[in-house]
């Protein structure tokens, strides 16, 4: 019995391990080989140099990082705000929560197209502006001439699409906070903001940390939204990786881009782990 207890967990893990090794980790390792392979067959930085020299590399890097900074913090603030609001709502709580989480199931591709149809020249936003008297004829916002607006449009679509994820993690975290803390703070007469910053947020730290980690990784991978709304005007790292693979058939450069993405993911994750660390008592 005891023997089996020792072997059992490994037996249970075995199928998933075999699967992931074969279909996840080994292709992952292969990517390194592809990225560092030179044209002549040896290994070196050829692909990285080509990526570095490319017109779009720094633009894509900049766009990706800026999007991360524009999207993730705003999502966090909105999510905390929404979940605190939800705490005060008793009736229709379920319905409201369902509606708020709908975008969780919406693909980035569809989200990009939806927002394109709203923000485009003859879209709904301009119709509203027309009715309000801001504009007289279709105005073009999403073009290379308004890089900031283009960027904002992508950011809005991205926030809309993936806010639900952050929201869920935060709400779940809030539920773990015992009501007593809240009440204690009330007893001591703490104001709403004081309570938020002194009690709620510190207690939410683990949830905030995991929300930030997960969302940042996903934000770095932004692809379909940027392509659908920005076309070629807003290159991001993932779209460049795709282009180098699908259009220029250079797997080396594509893999180099992927490794840059990976590096950024790891840096951001380590950053959150470090700056938002909590005592390691909980299992």
């Amino acid at each position: 019995m005891k023997e089996l207890n020792k072997v059992m967990p490994y037996l249970l893990l075995a199928p998933s391990v075999v699967f992931l090794v074969f279909f996840f980790f080994s292709p992952f390792v292969e990517t390194f080989f592809i990225a560092f392979k030179n044209a002549e067959g040896g290994y070196g930085l050829h692909s990285f140099r080509k990526m570095y020299d490319d017109l779009n590399f720094f633009v894509a890097l900049k766009n990706t990082i800026f999007l991360l900074f524009a999207v993730v913090p705003l999502q966090l603030v909105l999510a905390v705000w929404m979940s605190l609001t939800l705490r005060k709502i008793k009736k229709f709580r379920g319905a409201i929560l369902y509606i708020w989480t709908i975008p969780l199931g919406i693909s980035d591709l569809a989200a990009g197209i939806i927002w394109l149809s709203i923000l485009t020249e003859r879209g709904y936003l301009n119709t509203i502006f027309l009715n309000l008297g801001f504009i007289e004829k279709p105005e073009l916002w999403l073009s290379y001439e308004h890089p900031l607006l283009l960027f904002a449009a992508v950011a809005i679509a991205e926030i809309w699409r993936s806010l639900a994820l952050v929201l869920l993690i935060i709400i779940a975290g809030l539920q773990l906070i015992p009501k007593e803390y809240d009440e204690a703070a009330d007893v001591f007469g703490a104001g709403a903001f004081r309570k938020l910053f002194r009690v709620t947020l510190p207690l939410l730290k683990p949830s905030i940390q995991s929300a930030l980690i997960l969302r940042s990784i996903l934000a770095l991978e932004v692809f379909a939204v940027a392509v659908a709304i920005g076309g070629t005007n807003l290159p991001v790292l993932a779209s460049e990786a795709y282009n180098w693979m699908a259009n220029y058939l250079d797997y080396g450069v594509a893999s180099a881009y992927a490794l840059v993405l990976l590096a950024l993911s790891i840096i951001s994750t380590l950053g959150y782990l470090f700056f938002l660390r909590t005592p390691a008592d909980a299992a």
Partner: protein, 267 residues
């Protein structure tokens, strides 16, 4: 107090509207016909119902097959993600063993990896296996994407079931396997189902791998992305409509479990 309630509900409704309006516009556009897509100024409601976009969409060859493939791929992904994930999740939840933390971290690590590049070396591997351009190729990649979620989510679900329940069953003479099927599974069934739907959504929405690994046996997303940049806006809108609508139902079904799915990620 009353004023505050109004404020909270006002905020609640405001956030609801910001989620729903874009989807509402999508639906209005989808059933208003081609001309409405290019119309200026836009009308905010369905002026006259026009199914021509749907007709066009379904007349395009490959659409129905792609939809069928999408459902099939997503269902198979669910089966594999649950089938491979449940034992692993149980092991994580109930056993202490050497390498447990390493396994956990390795699984978490899969999230930090850009999906796009996974498909690249796999293309070659699948060609050698002879399953390139079959739904199996897509199923495998989607399983690789959904499996980590399935494992982590389920292990937390299992952990939340008091161990005593199972132990009581053992004392009453159940084998471990029986205890698992008679105690754990019934308790966790709804949440496992939610995990399953989540895996379904992952697969349903995945674009890149599906597009790279298939040519003939496309899923709906792969079909759309291969056509989308060369198809008129109204076709893209109908395509999005069919991508979005099913997920409204899925999220509705799993709405109660979304927390147990996501709340646990901070462990």
């Amino acid at each position: 107090m009353r004023k505050k309630a109004i404020l909270y509900y006002g905020l609640g409704i405001f956030f609801c509207l910001s989620v729903l309006l874009p989807i509402y516009f999508l639906i209005v556009l989808s059933v208003s016909g081609r001309d409405a897509v290019y119309a200026w100024p836009k009308i905010f409601y369905v002026a006259n119902l026009d199914w021509s976009m749907f007709r066009f969409f379904f007349e395009v060859e490959g659409v129905t097959r792609a939809m069928f493939n999408s459902v099939l791929v997503a269902s198979l992904t669910v089966v594999f993600a649950i089938g491979l994930g449940t034992p692993a999740a149980y092991a994580l939840a109930r056993y202490n063993f050497f390498g447990k933390n390493f396994y956990r971290i390795a699984i978490l690590f899969t999230r930090a990896f850009p999906v796009a590049i996974l498909a690249l070396p796999l293309t070659v591997r699948f060609i050698n296996l002879g399953i390139y351009d079959t739904i199996w190729a897509v199923v495998i990649v989607h399983t690789a994407l959904a499996l980590p979620f399935s494992i982590l989510i389920q292990s937390n679900l299992f952990q939340s079931v008091p161990k005593e329940l199972e132990e009581a069953a053992w004392l009453l003479g159940c084998t471990k396997l029986q205890a698992f099927f008679k105690i754990m599974l019934p308790i966790c069934m709804p949440s496992v189902a939610a995990t399953a739907i989540f895996a379904f959504i992952i697969s349903w929405n995945e674009v890149f791998a599906a597009a790279v690994l298939t040519v003939k046996n496309r899923t709906l997303t792969a079909f759309l992305i291969s056509q989308i940049s060369e198809s008129p806006l109204f076709f893209q809108i109908t395509g999005s409509f069919f991508l979005v609508i099913p997920t409204l139902f899925f999220i509705f079904i799993v709405r109660k479990y979304l927390f147990s799915l996501w709340g646990i990620t901070n462990k």
